[in-house]
Symmetry: C2
Subunit: 223 residues, 2 copies
């Protein structure tokens, strides 16, 4: 199994690349710059334990083509739509996993949603109805992702209009040792993406004695 991680040179993408490689999933890190992708891939390969799957680096479009099926989009929000427009001609037969949160540029404790309602819905509008877009992994802190000694301290809510791709992505995410929940159609991304801005507010609050918070689904018969 080989996945692409676009924006794999940013903190979220790097952490995901390392964790998926460690879990036995080959990763192609994508970047606008192929040399940069290759340099980061080399760096990440040295950070993962022996026996991990390979991490390679390519341009975004080549990374999409090199993936079996799943393409994770992990660029900052300002590059979201441009990156998608750059790869859309190569996305036939692929699944896009959108982890991007439209944080306000002036205040990351808030989101500024696009007219489509969420990043996931904006991606679906750009890629068209034939390419499944699945929102996932929005609420995992980059700090936690990059600390391979730490367990990921949250559950993952997975949404998107197509059910089978949603289940595939849930299974992929669970390779990271987390619990994934089916959160319904793409419209749920309006909520799930915004949870990240609430977590950022909590993390920077002086009233709260911890950082890098995530969320967990919790039930009385689940304690």
């Amino acid at each position: 199994m080989k996945i692409a991680v676009l924006g794999g040179t940013g903190p979220q993408g790097k952490g995901l690349a390392k964790r998926f490689a460690r879990a036995g999933v080959s990763v192609v890190v994508g970047s606008r710059s192929e040399p940069r992708a290759q340099a980061i891939a080399k760096e990440l390969s040295e950070e993962v334990p022996e026996g991990s799957a390979t991490i390679a680096g390519l341009s975004n479009a080549d990374a999409v083509r090199a993936s079996d099926e799943v393409v994770i989009l992990a660029v900052p929000w300002p590059g979201h739509n441009a990156t998608l427009n750059g790869i859309k001609d190569h996305m036939a037969g692929k699944i896009l996993v959108d982890i991007v949160v439209p944080l306000s540029e002036n205040d990351p404790k808030k989101v500024e949603m696009p007219p489509e309602g969420s990043a996931t819905e904006a991606a679906q509008a750009i890629l068209g109805p034939d390419v499944p877009v699945i929102g996932a992994l929005h609420n995992v802190s980059a700090h936690t992702l990059n600390d391979l000694n730490a367990a990921i301290n949250c559950d993952v809510l997975v949404c998107g209009n197509a059910l089978e791709p949603r289940k595939k992505v849930m299974a992929l995410v669970e390779k990271l040792g987390v619990t994934a929940y089916n959160a319904g159609g793409a419209q749920s991304a309006r909520c799930i993406e915004a949870i990240t801005s609430i977590l950022i507010r909590i993390n920077i609050s002086k009233a709260v004695p911890f950082t890098h918070a995530g969320i967990k689904i919790w039930a009385p018969d689940h304690l």
Copy 2:
């Protein structure tokens, strides 16, 4: 301290009335029908342990007038705006705590947000800028609220445009033995209200071995 719980004859309102009374906060249950409010108040008074604060029943407008400051709105979404229009002339000097979730009438696994963005924002638009509206307690299951032997199994995200009322409501909510988090301005209600629809989806999913789920904020240094 005396609070009003409008829609206190529904499952969410009944559970809150009992739990606040048990925590020493007097409650006036409001309903469109004063006799119904009084009958429910009598019933609830018999269910709370000895030593609890009083639970009385009045019409919605009289319940607002009888409250010291905090008015909790716990009606079903279809009655949200009409109830607010009926009490708005009595809300000067009060704080509205809006716990209502705009669940889709056809599918409670989804929300159908009003044009203002969320129930909390719709309430703020109806009551005007001088009455603080705080969103809270959306994600607590009615089943759990009504089982006085159970601890509330989730954290509470509290939002609203005015900071001091938000802090007052956080302190009030914490009387129920839960942790309340400051989730920012009223716009966060678009997320927090929608979490309930995602929890409903998880609760009715055959893939998940529990029901009555809530959410918890979780951090590595918080385990």
